[in-house]
């Protein structure tokens, strides 16, 4: 999805806000939300579902509620979509605790969720694949030119760009289907190197390369000469 989370190359965010001797968590609630979201409650059964739930929160909240605020919104979304809690009872409890019922809530549950929670029998994401990879290290490839609905891991800044395969990682669970409960559909995964010129044209800094980990369906063989 063309969401606010896809931040690579966006301009206007200003200086990096560096904190010396930063604590692991800045507030008690951040630690609690972190620990709760990792319990895989309701529909939060795989990492791609959980990531996509973060992408689906209110974009204003995405930019202003901080990292654990984004997790809070995603966790609430999946608890509501999974039918474990209702929006009304959470709101009522917030008010009972003295909270402001009118403040921005990050969670944006779908009326009919397209994410079907399921849990794999297998751990993690590496999967053996019988079919051979289409590309080899050194091959020139070009990335998909358009956005797609739902979860995907090709950032917008690297669409329709030409790069070179530098690593091959064999078969991995495909986030684009796994995030929607449509199966693991494992795909070959590659690390692809893009030059600064290819990504940013005349405004590119000299002597930079950006690497992305991209799944085979995002890639086509580059036309001769590119």
């Amino acid at each position: 999805m063309d969401g606010i989370h896809d931040l690579g190359g966006k301009e206007g965010f200003g200086a990096i806000d560096y904190e010396v001797n930063e604590p692991v968590f800045h507030a008690r609630w951040e630690a609690r939300v972190f620990a709760m979201y990792l319990q895989r409650l309701g529909g939060a059964t795989n990492i791609d579902l959980r990531r996509h739930a973060i992408e689906r929160i209110d974009p204003r909240a995405y930019l202003t509620h901080g990292y654990y605020g984004r997790w809070l919104g995603a966790m609430e979304t999946l608890l509501l979509e999974g039918g474990l809690l209702s929006r009304a009872e959470i709101d009522a409890r917030v008010v009972a605790m003295g909270g402001d019922a009118a403040s921005l809530v990050a969670s944006r549950p779908a009326e009919r969720p397209d994410s079907i929670p399921y849990e794999s029998d297998l751990p993690d994401s590496i999967r053996a694949l019988a079919r051979r990879p289409r590309f080899a290290v050194g091959d020139r490839v070009v990335t998909r030119s358009h956005g797609v609905p739902g979860h995907t891991r090709l950032p917008a800044y690297a669409r329709a760009r030409c790069g070179r395969i530098v690593l091959w990682h064999a078969g991995w669970v495909f986030p684009d289907t796994n995030a929607h409960g449509l199966g693991e559909d494992p795909q070959h995964l590659y690390t692809v190197a893009f030059t600064g010129d290819e990504l940013w044209g005349d405004s590119a800094e000299a002597g930079i390369t950006v690497h992305l980990d991209l799944f085979e369906p995002y890639l086509q063989r580059a036309p001769d000469g590119r």
């Binding site: 609630w29 690390t191 940013w200 991209l214």
Partner: protein
């Protein structure tokens, strides 16, 4: 953020409801928080880096297959299914980001600092890495190649910094104290 923030109250409301339903216990929460506060952090990555500086066979193994080289340590914290270690040299500087979310090698570096997860770093480091690194205080010679690693799948990246000058004869334990989180992300040199 103060604990009366809307996020704090909403988180507490959800936690209390989940506990009433028996879906979560205090122990579930405390166990996770204790792990990430106490046992998972950049001291683990520092151990690996210092050993790579002092043990050439380990260094080669680490660069060849990071996950296999690090597996015997049995670090907790996850996010380590496949580790790729990228080496800084006099000619190449590496820096790690995740523009789509905030992927990070938890088991080696702990949870990421806030700036790593904020929009400014995620948006800018792929577009103007030299300028961003200069803001971190790292002015790179124009002849040094900058390689940015945008972690867009489950592969995790760790930068192997150059060993600092003036540390000849130091053992791995002493060297590990010189290794910083920022150097292993690639926004600092040692």
């Amino acid at each position: 953020m103060a604990d009366d923030s809307p996020q704090a109250i909403r988180a507490e409301a959800i936690e209390s409801l989940l506990k009433e339903r028996g879906l979560i216990t205090e122990d579930d929460i405390d166990e996770v928080i204790a792990m990430y506060n106490e046992r998972v952090g950049p001291m683990n990555g520092a151990k690996v880096v210092a050993r790579a500086w002092t043990d050439p066979d380990f260094r080669r193994a680490l660069l060849d297959d990071g996950s296999a080289a690090v597996a015997p340590y049995e670090f907790e914290g996850g996010q380590m299914e496949k580790l790729v270690v990228v080496e800084n040299t006099a000619h190449v500087h590496n820096v790690v980001v995740c523009t789509l979310c905030s992927c990070y090698p938890w088991a080696l570096l702990g949870l990421p600092p806030r700036w790593y997860k904020d929009p400014a770093y995620r948006s800018r480091i792929v577009r103007e890495p030299r300028k961003v690194l200069a803001e971190f205080g790292l002015e790179l010679d124009p002849a040094v190649q900058v390689r940015v690693w945008d972690s867009s799948a489950e592969v995790r990246y760790l930068v192997l910094p150059e060993r600092p000058l003036g540390t000849d004869g130091w053992d791995a334990e002493r060297l590990a104290e010189r290794v910083t989180r920022d150097a292993m992300i690639g926004v600092a040199r040692l």
